[in-house]
Structure formats: C-alpha cells, structure tokens
C-alpha cells in the first residue's frame, strides 16, 4: 500500500492536470451550450494552439507563459472568423451540416499541420519544466501549479464576462431564445462567432499551460478532447461550473488510477466514469433537465 503522502501528492497532481482538462472542456461546453453543436474541430484547434506555442518558443524564443496575452486574441480571432465565415455560412442553418463542417475542418487543420511540421513529436524544455515547489512535505510540479491557478482565474473571468457584460448576457440570451434576442437587436451570427471565439481563446490558454510539461504532434489534440468530452458529460452539457469541477475531478481520477493501476491504465477510470454517468445521470452533475 502507498503512504498517504504519495496518495495526496497524486491527488494534487491530478487536480493540476484536471485544471487544464477543465479549460479545454470549458470551450467545448460553451460552444455546445450556445450554438447547440458539438465542435469536432476542438481537438485540431487545440493542436494548432500548441504548435503556435512551440513555434513562439523554438523560433522566436518567447516563453510559453508570455505567449498567453498574444495567443488568446489570436485564437479568439481565428475562432470568430471560422464560425462567422466558414462554419455558419456552410451549415445553412442545419445542425447536421455543422457537425460535418467541423469534422471536415479538423481533418484539414490536422493535415496542414502534418504537411508543415511532419508527424514528429516536439517538446520545449524551459528552465522551470521540471522545477518543483515544496508544500510542507509535498513536492508539487511548478508548471502544473501555475496551470491550476491560471485555469481557475480564467474560469472566473469567463463567468464574469457571461454574467456582467452585455455581450455575455446576449450570449446567454441567444442560447435559449434566438428570436427574442433578434428582436432586441442582438446580432445572432455575431454572438455565435464571439462564443466560438471565446471557446478557442480557452484553448489558447490551455495550450500555453500544457506546453512546458507536455509534447505536441499533429494528432495530440484528439486525446485531450476525448477527455474533455467526458468532462462535459460529467459536468452537464453547457454548464460552466460543471466543466471546471468535472475537469478537476477527472484529473484526480486519472491520477489515482495511474497510481494504482499503472500509468498506461490511468485513463481507464475516466471512461468507466463516462459510462457510469451516461447510465445513471445522463444530464450530468450540473446539467439542466431535458
């Protein structure tokens, strides 16, 4: 049996990984909650953001954390443009089409990355990649601690935007009442694009937090989005607090499963939970009743 200290450390490490899962899930759940579509391009967009971080570091020598304020507006603009000028017009108002468009988009993005960067796995090692912080008897990874803090702050900011600004209120209004929103003068396609942009901005932050300790290749996004789907289902489709708590919880589960079953089986627990949630509580922890 492991000592309580190791278990505690594994749980804290899980919380910190979970924070990044939460950020990825946040973007997914926001887009689902407002546009009522599942964005299949989410993984490929995350990969793009991770490559952007790598390029900034390897070619331009910019620290991953310093990239955050640059990449967030860039990814927002990319997401806004994709929804406004590609996904929206190509779907002709049919949700089935949107699904196919985002799937097609992910294939295009992935292959562009493959053509540009080949399928090599790349890492960047900063001075602090393996730095640890001592918290009493516990040793915690410094970059992951930063990740947890930033993820919580970003979730808080997103909540503020949605609840305290006119644009945020318009996003929530459009999510439930499109015609009513139209009649108070809300430009619905614009709000859709802003929502998609915000989802992509979350991915930008996640990419910056991941890169100091993780690697990137053109197919990496899919693995994260699979976990993010579980988080979204667990937290409730469209729920912001659900995405945060679900992400943290899934991170801990993965970490503990890894500890007890071995690293390669760490994700087993995640998908067992996924199946269990679908069986027992399909609306998720914070989901609205159907």
């Amino acid at each position: 049996m492991y000592s309580p200290q190791i278990i505690l450390e594994a749980m804290l490490n899980g919380l910190m990984t979970g924070a990044v899962y939460a950020l990825i899930a946040l973007g997914l759940t926001l887009i689902y909650g407002v546009l009522h579509i599942i964005n299949f391009a989410h993984g490929a967009l995350l990969t793009c953001a991770m490559f952007a971080v790598w390029v900034a570091w390897a070619w331009l020598g910019i620290d991953p954390y310093a990239v955050i304020p640059l990449l967030v507006p860039l990814m927002f603009a990319l997401g806004y443009g994709l929804q406004r000028f590609v996904i929206g017009p190509a779907s002709h108002g049919d949700d089935g089409n949107i699904l196919l468009v985002t799937l097609g988009l992910s294939i295009v993005l992935e292959n562009v990355l493959l053509a540009t960067f080949q399928s090599d796995t790349r890492t960047l090692d900063t001075d602090y990649s393996f730095q640890v912080v001592a918290l009493g008897p516990l040793l915690l990874s410094f970059p992951r601690l930063i990740g947890l803090a930033v993820a919580v702050v970003v979730t808080g900011l997103l909540w503020l935007v949605l609840n305290r600004t006119d644009t945020g209120k318009a996003i929530r209004a459009v999510a439930r009442e499109k015609l009513g929103a139209n009649l108070v003068g809300i430009d619905v396609p614009h709000i859709y694009a802003v929502t998609f942009g915000l989802g992509c901005a979350c991915l930008a932050v996640a990419a910056c937090l991941l890169m100091p300790t993780f690697y990137v290749n053109p197919r990496i996004g899919g693995a994260f989005v699979l976990v993010a789907f579980t988080v979204v289902v667990l937290g409730g489709m469209g729920s912001i607090p659900g995405a945060l708590l679900g992400g943290l919880f899934i991170g801990v589960v993965e970490s503990l499963c890894g500890l007890f079953l071995g690293d390669s089986l760490g994700q087993l627990g995640i998908f067992l939970i996924f199946i269990a949630v679908l069986l027992v509580r399909p609306t998720g922890l914070f989901g609205a009743k159907a």
Binding site: K169, A173, R176, L183, V184, G185, I186
Partner: protein, 241 residues
C-alpha cells in the same frame, strides 16, 4: 386606402411576402401616425405575425416598400430596425427564461437606449412593481401575465418610437387582459405610438383609433375603429352577432 400624411411614422405600400413558395401577405398597404394606436385584427393564420416579422426584419419582404420615421427599412437587419426605434413585443413573449428579470430588461437596451438604461429601468420598475420585487429571479419562473409585462418592459427599455404588440392578451386570464389594455392606454397617453395586433376584437377596437381587418393576406376592411365596430359584416364574422 387613405393617403399617408408626410408626418406618418410607419408606412407600408404593396407589401408581399411568404415562406418558400407560399405567399402569405398579398399586397398590404397601411400607415401608423405618431402617437396613434392602430390595431390589426384577424383570426389565426391570416398573416398577422408574418406582417410583424417583416416589419422587424426577421423575414424579408418580397415586394413593396416599408418606411419608418422617413427611412426605408425593408431589407434592413433586425438590429438596424431596432436601432431606429421600431420595437416589437412578439407573440409568445420570447423573454429569456434563463436570465434574471433585471437582465432581461437590461438586454432590452442592448441596441438602443443604453445611455438612459438606469433611468428607464427605474421607470419600468415603477410601472410594474411586481417585476421590481422579483428583479433577481429567473424570468422563466414568472406567470404568463408577468412574462407579458416583462416582455413589454423589455420593449420599452429600447425607448421605442413605435411599439408593436403581437397578441399581448393571448393566454391571459380576463382580469389580466383588462390590466393589459389599461396599460396600453396609459403608454399611448404618454405619447407612444402603438401597433396592436390582436384576435381580441372588442377590446382592441375600444383602445385603437383606427383598425385594419386582415383576411387571407389582404386588408378586407380599414377605417376608424368606431365605424368598423359598427359594421354589420364584421359583427357577423368576428363577433357572431
């Protein structure tokens, strides 16, 4: 059809529109003057809501001209039309159920009236004390009558020049309907022009100065409310007398 005077607020000429290949409005002419209450009456499915959708820019016009406050608005986006002060309170209220009452009202001034938001909010809370009591509550928890009040309050937040009310009495109890028509009179007394689109013939003719009767996509009758109320044909068709 009466020739519209130059100070007409809303003027529609030869308007046709529909869905797909189906023509719903087949050449409609009408006008609303400043400070007037005008009612459009008709039973279900004659095109009343379609008319409102075109006026608000949610549905494109096929042919014809719509002028509002001197500007052509046919073909403009819903947001642009709201900006110019033509505000619609739609059938079925279409409030935001997942937002608080205060947030619903705030969004009423999303496109127009934003500088005076705080002042207008106070005025609307003074008109509807029940909304003020529940300002923080989710709008979806309100009763039908309260939701209708909220929808009208949301419309007023945009400082309308013309307020279109689409079936405001639909699904309300007789007592609340009474209250609703009282409110319409009061808003008009304060100088607001209102286009009241209704199935409730008797009460609508009482509050409105002029009326149009819509039948199968054309106006079968129009004129002063008093004349229309006395028309034997109308009595037979709509009042069963």
């Amino acid at each position: 059809m009466a020739e519209a005077s130059p100070d007409t607020l809303l003027e529609i000429r030869g308007l046709t529109t529909g869905y797909g290949a189906t023509e719903v409005l087949r050449g409609v002419d009408m006008a609303v003057g400043p400070g007037e209450i005008v009612t459009v009456l008709g039973s279900n499915g004659v095109g009343k809501t379609t008319l409102n959708k075109v006026l608000s820019g949610v549905l494109p016009a096929w042919t014809g001209d719509i002028r509002f406050a001197g500007q052509r608005i046919a073909g403009q986006s819903a947001a642009r039309i709201v900006e110019q002060g033509l505000i619609q309170v739609p059938e079925g209220r279409k409030i935001f159920p997942n937002l608080s009452i205060r947030e619903n009202l705030e969004l009423g001034s999303y496109r127009r009236g934003k500088p005076n938001r705080a002042r207008n909010l106070e005025r609307i809370f003074a008109t509807f004390p029940r909304l003020k009591e529940r300002a923080g509550q989710m709008a979806g928890t309100l009763s039908g009558g309260e939701q209708q009040m909220l929808a009208i309050g949301r419309g007023l937040m945009a400082e309308p020049l013309l307020l279109i009310l689409d079936e405001p009495s639909l699904g309300l109890s007789p007592l609340v309907v009474e209250e609703m028509f009282g409110l319409i009179r009061k808003l008009n007394a304060d100088g607001l022009a209102i286009l009241l689109v209704e199935q409730n013939v008797v009460q609508s003719l009482e509050v409105a100065r002029r009326a149009y009767i819509l039948e199968n996509g054309v106006f079968a009758m129009s004129g002063a409310s008093a004349d229309i109320a006395g028309d034997p044909e109308l009595k037979r068709t709509y009042l069963g007398l």
